[in-house]
Amino acid sequence: MSKFIVSLSPHEKGKYTVEHVMWGVVIALIPAFISSVVNFGYRAVAVTAVALITCVFCEYLIQKFLMKCEITAFDGSAAVTGILLAFNLPSSIPLWQVVVGSIVAIAVGKMAFGGLGKNPFNPALVGRGFMLMSFPVDMTTWPIPLKSAWEWDIASKLDAMTSATPLGVLKEGNFSELPELWDLFIGTVGGSLGETSALAIIIGGIYLIHRKIITWHIPVLYLGTIFVLTGIMWLINDTANINPVFHILSGGVMLGGFFMMTDMVTSPMSLWGQVIFAVGAGVICVAIRLFGAYPEGCMFSILIMNAFVPLIDKYIKPKKFGTEVNYG
């Protein structure tokens, strides 16, 4: 007879594991990936594959040779970082830059803090922030969707193949050149790989909520805040400001709200903390879009609110049982 195992209760274990969560996110990103392949062709596959492989491999190397700890590089978290980073890049980006960005995302954004669960900032956005500062031109050159899709050597034909993003157009004030809302919804506009199609992202987001990997609070409140604030501006002055539907469909807020704000590691733990986090990020995003120098504020809004998470967690505590007095 084998020895009995003695351990503390509970002896039952739920089915959720880190792998379950992380690969669930990867599955949820598939619709956005399909949309990016349709819009941007080979390059979308190449950029995503390079970022994914670099991230996983980089994490593996660091765990094996630097941290000398157990290898957990294949649990899916590095893969999520890689895919999300790729989805925040334009398809024409040189692949060596993708490699550099991925290494920064994993090495600086994640492993430097001690690995999974310890990083204060979303690693994919750290990587993207680094690339935006380092390669500003390549990072803001947006190939035209569909037209550029099946061209491999895109660099030599960039002039003919690029367009501004909807938000870039908006920043310049050319309201007449703005794309239709329908194009924004299905994603046939210029932009980063994974952010253009609101439809694909919403499908993925609903999958995540259905699998109980995320709750609806953060994405709904983030997008809701943006909708309300831009709506107020639009009501005040509808010639200088575009309607709020345009704002929530364009740029990275969909991808950010469903996939990057909800990153468990870098979001608050309590429900009310999450509310503050989402609303705060929404306010910052709108402020950057309407009054800032950048056309898009999604990345910065998330990174800034990431920095507030420890503070939010310290002061916003979950509601305790026994505080609701309804007797005597």
């Binding site: 020895k3 009995f4 195992i5 003695v6 351990s7 503390l8």
Partner: protein, 304 residues
């Protein structure tokens, strides 16, 4: 051009002078007067902040000592890591005579090795003795013995204790142990004891904490003290260092002369010493056996 350099040198110089004046006056005005003896005492202390003295860090202890010295005596205070020499030095700094205290060391009182106390169950949980202790009697089934999860190792600031991989019991490295008592405090079963190092490092102790009756103790561990009392009888009459209480013998280190006579009589080898025990007394053999006689004769002849 020259003017710019000149002006900037002058203006920055003025700012620097002004700032340094402010700093100077603030430093003067808000200076905290501290007894210079505290620094001197703190310099003598090892600075490991182990807490063995019972005060918050070495500096806290130094402050306490100076205060105590002002009241006349630092008797009773001891820095276990630095030992009596350092206390004597401190005494000198504070102008007091200090009596030397006997050096001590930590001693583990469990002999339940993997072989002698086989593991009957498997513990699955955090590697903390405190958690395992609260849950059950341990993998060996002995509610008094070591669980081998190493809370003592974590608590030691001096790297003086480790878990032996073969026996799964903690081992104290005498040279490194400063007898600060951190492991004693942290051990949930109190199997670690601070005992005097002893003359020439000779010390004897009961290597078990079991209060179970003999049969029950032997059932879980073959090295258990069964409370038979043989050692108590063996201990020289004038000394009587061993007492039996609740099926467990205890050797009083203050009385023990480390003669080692009790060691061979223990039926479970539960008495441990830092030296080779004396050979067991030859049992009185039956008279019919002539061999010892002849041997003795031979010996006598040789001597002649």
């Amino acid at each position: 051009m020259d003017g710019v350099i000149l002006y900037s040198v002058i203006s920055l110089g003025l700012v620097a002078a002004g700032a340094s004046m402010i700093l100077f006056f603030i430093a003067k005005k808000f200076r905290v007067e501290e007894d210079p003896r505290i620094d001197k005492v703190a310099d003598i202390l090892p600075g490991a902040n182990c807490g063995g003295c019972g005060y918050p860090g070495c500096r806290g202890f130094a402050e306490t000592l100076v205060k105590a010295a002002d009241n006349g005596s630092i008797e009773g205070f001891n820095c276990p890591p630095a030992g009596s020499e350092a206390m004597a030095q401190i005494g000198k700094v504070l102008g007091l005579e200090v009596e030397a205290s006997e050096p001590t060391t930590a001693v583990v009182r469990c002999g339940g090795t993997n072989e002698l106390a086989p593991r009957k169950t498997e513990y699955d949980g955090p590697s903390k003795c405190s958690v395992s202790h609260a849950l059950f009697s341990g993998e060996k089934g002995c509610p008094y013995g070591c669980m081998g999860l190493g809370d003592c190792v974590v608590s030691c600031s001096f790297g003086a204790i480790y878990i032996d991989e073969k026996t799964m019991l903690p081992v104290v490295i005498d040279e490194k142990c400063v007898s600060c008592g951190a492991c004693v405090k942290v051990c949930p079963r109190k199997i670690i004891e601070i005992r005097p190092v002893g003359r020439k490092s000779r010390r004897v102790w009961i290597n078990c904490m079991s209060n179970d009756k003999g049969a029950a103790a032997m059932k879980v561990c073959k090295a258990a003290c069964i409370g038979c009392g043989k050692c108590v009888k063996e201990c020289p009459e004038k000394i009587q260092a061993i007492v039996l209480d609740n099926f467990l013998a205890y050797i009083d280190p203050k009385k023990c002369i480390a003669c080692g006579k009790c060691i061979p009589v223990c039926p479970t080898k539960a008495i441990k010493a830092t030296f080779e025990p004396p050979a067991p007394k030859p049992k009185p053999k039956p008279v019919e056996n002539p061999e010892p006689e002849s041997e003795k004769k031979d010996q006598d002849e040789v001597n002649k």
